[in-house]
């Protein structure tokens, strides 16, 4: 399994049957391949019940996800307008949202929508990180050798103190009241290998798990 799919599979392990989940673009969008049966997917442009990408006659304009990709709705889908869609989001009805990240702070602040001088829009991300019961960020641990997990984010924030889990290609880190906690680590790496690539202090869970490479 390639790294992107491995991260998606790990993130999807946070979902349980009956959960309604919203997936961002990129790695998060791959999570639907690994979700437990009974998980349903919300797309912020107005539907719960996103199914597989559509082919043939099922490719219609009326069933598009937030990236404009055409999909087949699953049985039991429901349609709603954007006001109701974000009512679902803000009121805590989504069990989880999975998003990409540019930077995460030690306090769980997330920056994922803009770099300074390049602000093309937050879309629904600010609502999602504010409302979903669990916010899961999938990202590489570093970008061009620079840490992405920082004491404070330098880029414009998507939300304050909103991230619960950070799933990277090397490890899983939880944001807790005590600080960042290393929860899982790739086989062959040590906590200090992770510490070298992030800025904040990193605690290690007593029951640290090892992930097979």
């Amino acid at each position: 399994m390639d790294i992107r799919h491995r991260m998606a599979k790990r993130a999807a392990a946070y979902f349980s049957a009956g959960d309604i989940v919203n997936l961002g673009i990129g790695v998060p969008s791959l999570c639907n391949n690994y979700a437990a049966p009974g998980v349903m997917f919300h797309t912020e442009n107005g539907l719960i019940g996103v199914g597989p990408l559509a082919e043939g006659l099922m490719r219609v304009e009326s069933f598009c996800n937030a990236n404009g990709m055409r999909f087949v709705p699953v049985p039991g889908s429901a349609v709603f307008d954007s006001a109701d869609s974000f009512g679902i989001v803000r009121s805590g009805r989504l069990a989880a949202t999975v998003l990409g990240g540019l930077q995460v702070s030690k306090g769980g602040d997330l920056a994922n929508w803009a770099r300074p001088g390049k602000m093309v829009g937050m879309g629904g991300a600010m609502d999602l990180v504010n409302g979903a019961r669990k916010v899961i960020v999938t990202m590489e641990l570093t970008a061009k050798g620079q840490p992405k997990i920082l004491n404070e984010c330098a880029y414009p924030l998507t939300g304050k103190a909103c991230v619960d889990h950070i799933v990277t290609e090397q490890c899983v880190i939880d944001v807790t009241g005590d600080g960042l906690v290393l929860r899982e680590i790739l086989e062959g790496l040590t906590p200090d290998d992770i510490r070298r690539q992030i800025e904040p202090e990193l605690l290690v869970a007593e029951d640290l798990t090892t992930l097979a490479a």
């Binding site: 442009n45 609502d127 939300g159």
Partner: protein, 216 residues
């Protein structure tokens, strides 16, 4: 079967320089493409677009950007449209970004006689800038004020002569909100149906919000 059905020339005549056009559609789906033709044909310039995004370059609502008709964009995301991004970077278009859920509520308020709503979304981010923070029972909320337009352009699945509308799938998202939020609301529909052909419980936008429907 006339009611609110109107020929194209009457609809083209609605659009004027400097108007705020509030539009349905999301990432090129559910967009009122025939009404966008009408805006182009009207020659109207210096428009403000109020809606989720500006589509792809020279696609759907992006055609108004491509043709240089737009001075200002209010939306949640323009990243799909490199033309909009470039015009904003060059100072040719003024951009206001609003979190998508707050944008939906602000348009809903504009169409519902409400002045604004309180949300947590955007607290602690630049989405706070220039906005009031309100305390309610010791909790802090961000006040997102109402938004509306001069003309709303809406894409429906079916329309009857009273302007009762239904939508299909995710093409619904911003369309019913937009339909309420302007001085004049114009609709295009995939299907024009007879009075009483839409079941009352199935109607999403009651005709009271609709002024004209593009006839065929």
């Amino acid at each position: 079967m006339s009611g609110k059905f109107r020929p194209k020339d009457e609809i083209v005549a609605l659009f004027k320089d400097g108007q705020t056009i509030v539009h349905g559609g999301f990432a090129n789906h559910g967009a009122p493409n025939a009404l966008i033709d009408c805006v182009l044909e009207s020659g109207a310039r210096h428009l403000t677009l109020l809606g989720n995004d500006t589509g792809d370059p020279n696609e759907t609502i992006g055609r108004l950007i491509h043709e240089g008709r737009v001075d200002k964009v209010i939306g949640s995301h323009i990243g799909m449209n490199a033309e909009t991004v470039e015009l904003v970077a060059n100072g040719k278009i003024e951009l206001t970004l609003i979190p998508q859920g707050s944008l939906a509520e602000r348009i809903r308020c504009g169409g519902s006689g409400l002045g604004g709503v309180l949300t947590k979304t955007g607290l602690g981010t630049i989405a706070e800038n220039g906005k009031q923070k309100i305390e309610v029972n010791g909790e802090t909320w961000l006040l997102e004020p109402a938004l509306r337009g001069d003309v709303a352009i809406v894409r429906a699945r079916s329309a009857d002569p009273y302007g009762n509308l239904t939508y299909r799938g995710t093409s619904r998202n911003f369309n019913p909100l937009v339909a309420k939020a302007a001085a004049i609301t114009v609709v295009e529909a995939d299907h024009l149906v007879e009075l009483d052909e839409l079941e009352p419980d199935r109607i999403v936008t009651p005709g009271v919000f609709v002024d004209m429907i593009l006839a065929r």
